[in-house]
């Protein structure tokens, strides 16, 4: 069955093509467009499930060997590039890049995430985008995005990944700028694309490095070669470190890490399903995919691993602190995404790549859930996105509330929800890592970020769903309502593009209502026409089933999804390091991860056998080294273990600490926003500088604007003035020189040459003209005379000899 994985990217593309090319022309109904889009993704999902099942669990399971579609002929030769020189001309390799898909443990996980979560989001979007004029366009772009993302994760070589990489960047641009007539959306889409491109530059350089070092771009071949490269320890910077640097720059751009994170919050100007799919579940995880795919290269470069971990940690804490003070529900979720991505990179940096991917999976579940829930809230609140005007929505939108509740618990890391399993393992890996130094610092930063995460997510829950209903108390306040009201004053349609917006806002007809609850208050809403600022607040309503059904599905996943990665801390229950056999993500993914100790990929089923177990294997901490100082500086886990002398207890200590951190954050959030609502303002005043820094996103955008954008424009202006003054000056100087020269030559010609010609001509004319003029008498008989003379001359010439003889004769006779 896994032979047919090549259909998986193709089906969404076909759906996108049909919708895009024919959707408007033949005026497809929304139902048709939606069915085509959802159907194509659903079919892709089913095929993925079948393929992964037969790959990993079927009778002739292919796992763990990667399966390439070229083995069965479902591929084609894409770039037969010929000979390339390798290692600075040391040797040559024949570079043939083919377009084939690879099914291996890593890509299978991503296939399932992308198509599965994507399916939920597509179904949600059919309800959310109802009434849009560009319905077909939305689903065309979404289908194109699915295609690009699947090419990215299923590609068998770096160039296919790059194609997918760029493709998702393009679709992100198209989808963020979906409301293209709004300046805010246009700016955001441009910002996203350009920031992505900066990262792509690094990625491209890395690909060049890969090709010139290994002579091939195919994963299987590259990693087989890279295995045997020497390890580049801290401070030693070799070719693999360069490649890893380029790759990581690409990952920073795509996955919104510091300093290229600036596009993700602005990308919330796109429709909510876009934010859910692209900026929570799939595109931003492409960086993670890439880092994990190339973990061989990364693990060879200790410096880069440290860089990855530090950047991830910095991003996590940075974004978490910003999220505390934001008021737009989507912006909170955006910064939460950035922060969680930082967590994932932290995991990869400390060597726990599998846990990073695990966190990708669980994060996809609960973040997509929360984004869709936020979309449902926004829809129900008639496009109100400011949390200050929400509150108490629990009783108005029950489905949304309870599913969001599950997501909240998951992200905070409460056992047994999915977020707990992955986040805890990350922190444990950071504390116990032996691959890089400063593991303890990473752990500390991660824990603080987890506290912040719990805090702001609780804040979000409190402000949105609990407490009093603030939307009833603010009659004509807020941007959205004010815009709505003033629209009636000005006679513009509501939701006009010219009005300042509070975020994404689909185009409903002003009187259109969706959902059953709203009919009872239709009369109230119908009284919009009374003009003026006297404008009642909207009564929120639950979303239609097409919107809350995916929420339920995702909530289920967010709840139980963590059981795919039960860690060794529970081995006293499960009797296994990683229970579940191949269903456990660690067992499933291990063959993709390189083991620096053995020099080869990790064996399946964990190589946990204690005696021969090499250090660095995830999840097993042999007691061989009883010293605090591991191979790389202070190791926190070892230190703790030194005290407890029980590795299980050590693990459980860290678990308790992370649970306590989560609980503390939740309690703090509850304190500030449920029990003592006056506290936030007091503390905001007390910590005013910090508050301002957080609220203004640490002024990063302004700094970039000043340092990069304006300086670039200044440079452009300087270059322009150089070109226009100096270069053009030179050219114009030549022109002036030519003109001067031509004037001189002209003078010579006019006075000397022409003078000569004129003199001669005048002389000849004066001489000959009267003579020649005299011949033109106009008198026919003169002409006849001339003819006769000519005739005589001709005859005489004919008889010249005879005439001469005769004349001589006469002359002789006379004389």
């Amino acid at each position: 069955m896994y032979k047919y994985i090549w259909l998986v990217p193709l089906l969404p593309l076909a759906g996108a093509a049909i919708n895009g090319l024919f959707g408007r022309k033949f005026r497809f109904s929304e139902q048709l467009i939606g069915s085509i889009a959802v159907g194509s993704v659903a079919l892709a999902f089913l095929i993925s499930v079948a393929a992964v099942y037969s790959y990993g669990f079927g009778g002739q399971a292919h796992w763990p060997v990667p399966y390439l579609t070229s083995q069965d002929g479902f591929s084609f030769e894409w770039i037969p590039a010929g000979a390339v020189s390798v290692n600075h001309g040391a040797s040559y390799a024949l570079l043939n890049i083919e377009w084939s898909y690879q099914l291996d443990p890593l890509s299978s996980i991503f296939m399932l995430i992308v198509t599965g979560v994507g399916l939920c989001i597509f179904i949600f979007a059919t309800g959310y985008m109802h009434g849009e004029a560009g319905f077909y366009r939305f689903f065309a772009y979404m289908g194109l995005f699915m295609f690009a993302m699947l090419v990215l994760v299923m590609g068998s070589n770096f160039l296919m990944m790059f194609v997918g990489w760029e493709g998702v960047g393009l679709c992100s641009y198209l989808l963020i700028g979906y409301y293209f007539d709004r300046q805010e959306a246009a700016n955001a889409s441009r910002k996203a694309f350009i920031t992505n491109r900066i990262g792509d530059f690094g990625f491209a350089l890395a690909i060049f490095g890969v090709i010139s070092t290994f002579g091939t771009a195919q994963y299987t071949q590259v990693f087989a070669q890279a295995k045997s490269f020497p390890l580049e320890t801290l401070g030693h910077w070799g070719i693999l470190s360069w490649i890893a640097l380029g790759l990581f720059i690409g990952a920073c751009g795509k996955s919104a890490q510091l300093p290229l994170h600036v596009w993700l919050p602005d990308a919330m100007a796109g429709p909510t399903p876009v934010s859910a799919l692209i900026h929570a579940a799939t595109m931003v995880t492409a960086g993670l995919y890439m880092v994990t795919r190339t973990n061989v290269i990364f693990q060879h470069s200790q410096t880069m691993l440290l860089v990855v971990a530090l950047v991830g940690a910095a991003t996590a804490i940075f974004a978490a602190t910003i999220g505390i003070t934001q008021n737009d529900i989507k912006k909170v979720l955006a910064y939460s995404t950035v922060s969680q991505l930082g967590f994932m990179f932290m995991a990869c940096g400390v060597g726990a790549f599998v846990i990073g991917i695990f966190h990708v999976m669980t994060h996809a579940f609960f973040k997509a859930l929360m984004f869709l829930g936020a979309g449902s809230v926004i829809h129900g609140m008639h496009h109100e996105q400011d949390m200050r005007r929400m509150g108490g929505l629990k009783k108005y939108m029950p489905y949304t509330y309870w599913t969001f509740f599950a997501g909240w618990l998951a992200i905070c890391g409460v056992i047994p929800f999915s977020g707990f399993w992955s986040k805890d393992e990350i922190l444990w890996s950071a504390a116990s890592t032996t691959q890089i130094p400063l593991g303890w610092l990473i752990w500390l930063v991660g824990t603080i970020a987890a506290v912040c995460t719990a805090f702001y997510m609780t804040r979000l829950m409190a402000m949105t769903f609990w407490g009093r209903e603030r939307f009833l108390e603010t009659p004509a306040g807020g941007e959205a309502d004010e815009a709505h009201a003033s629209a009636y004053d000005k006679g513009l349609a509501a939701h006009d593009a010219r009005l300042p917006s509070a975020g994404d806002r689909p185009r409903h007809e002003p009187g259109e209502h969706v959902g059953p609850v709203h009919e009872t208050v239709a009369s109230h809403v119908a009284s919009h026409g009374h003009g003026g600022h006297e404008h009642g607040a909207h009564i929120p309503h639950e979303s239609p089933r097409s919107m809350w059904a995916p929420l339920v599905a995702l909530a289920v996943l967010a709840t139980i999804g963590g059981f795919f990665g039960v860690g060794p801390a529970f081995r006293f229950i499960t009797r296994a390091e990683h229970p579940g056999g191949r269903l456990n993500i660690v067992n499933w993914l291990n063959p993709v991860i390189w083991n620096p100790a053995t020099g080869d990929f990790k064996t399946a089923e964990g190589g946990h056998e204690a005696a021969a177990a090499p250090a660095g294997e995830h999840g097993s901490e042999p007691l061989a080294e009883a010293t605090h100082e591991g191979a790389n500086g202070f190791n926190l886990a070892h230190a703790v273990e030194g005290s407890t002398h029980n590795e299980l207890a050590t693990e459980w200590i860290f678990i308790i600490i992370s649970l306590v951190a989560a609980g503390a954050g939740m309690l703090l959030g509850g304190l500030f926003y449920v029990w003592r609502p006056s506290l936030p303002d007091i503390w905001a005043q007390r910590l005013r500088p910090l508050y301002l820094a957080s609220y203004n996103k640490y002024w990063v955008d302004e700094f970039y604007g000043w340092a990069v954008t304006r300086r670039t424009m200044d440079a452009a202006r300087a270059v322009f003035s150089f070109d226009s003054k100096i270069v053009d000056g030179i050219v114009n100087g030549f022109a002036t020189l030519s003109r001067g020269l031509s004037r001189v030559v002209g003078g010579v010609d006019k006075y000397f040459v022409d003078g000569l010609v004129n003199t001669i001509a005048a002389f000849v004319a004066r001489l000959m003209s009267p003579l020649l003029r005299a011949a033109q008498t106009g008198f026919t008989q003169n002409y006849a005379l001339v003819m006769v003379v000519g005739l005589m001359i001709a005859v005489a010439a004919f008889f010249a000899g005879d005439i001469v003889t005769a004349l001589r004769g006469i002359f002789a006779a006379v004389m």
Binding site: Q781, L785, V788
Partner: protein
């Protein structure tokens, strides 16, 4: 072909008459006199033709040249030249220089021709020795004659017969071409001699020119074009 006897006498009479008449044609003051002198010159030349044995040509000369062309000349003289006599003395010759130059070149030409004839004739005699036969010799092979004429003084010659035979057999193409030439000449002369009125009524005048002419002669405007 040597003439002798009376034929020589008539030759000299007609030759001198032709020359004299030609001279007077050129020198006559009155155009009508010039025409009449030309007629007499042409008739003399016709007689010379007869003496050369070309009776048909002589007849054609009289009929066509004198009877047609010279009559036409006289008509045209009457049309255009009548006023000249009444005005009195007009110069008939061009200016002095033209006349002088012409006479010089003419004398040169005549001298050249005479000389050429005299020197060339010797060669001609050598080439065609049998030409000494007398024209009137009836035994000469080329002088086959027909029956006697009405007065009985001579025989009718076969010249016309021979010319007719040659003209319609060997020279039939030039004959046809000549007839077309005459047709063209007829059409051309009709066209050339039309008045403005005739041209306007046949719609053969350029509109701009017609406007000009109408300004001068208002009767033209009344003409209706005969063709559409």
């Amino acid at each position: 072909m040597t003439l002798s006897g009376y034929e020589a006498l008539f030759f000299w009479i007609f030759a001198l008459a032709a020359i004299f008449a030609g001279l007077l044609t050129v020198m006559a003051r009155n155009a009508v006199h010039s025409a009449l002198f030309l007629i007499s010159s042409l008739v003399s030349v016709a007689a010379l033709f007869v003496l050369s044995g070309a009776e048909f040509i002589a007849g054609v000369q009289i009929l066509v040249y004198v009877g047609g062309v010279m009559v036409l000349f006289l008509f045209v003289i009457m049309l255009v030249n009548v006023g000249a006599e009444e005005r009195g003395r007009d110069e008939i010759f061009n200016n002095q220089r033209q006349v002088t130059a012409s006479l010089i070149f003419c004398f040169l030409l005549v001298g050249g021709v005479l000389y050429a004839v005299s020197t060339g004739y010797a060669g001609l005699e050598k080439r065609y020795p049998k030409a000494e036969a007398l024209v009137g010799d009836q035994t000469a092979p080329t002088q086959q004659t027909g029956p006697q004429n009405a007065t009985g003084t001579s025989h009718m010659t076969k010249d016309t017969e021979r010319i007719g035979g040659s003209l319609y057999r060997y020279a039939s193409l030039p004959f046809e071409i000549a007839s077309i030439l005459l047709l063209v000449a007829i059409i051309g002369s009709v066209m050339l001699a039309r008045t403005l009125k005739q041209e306007a009524s046949a719609d053969d005048v350029d509109p701009e020119v017609l406007l000009e002419e109408v300004a001068r002669d208002l009767e033209l405007a009344k003409l209706e074009p005969q063709s559409e």
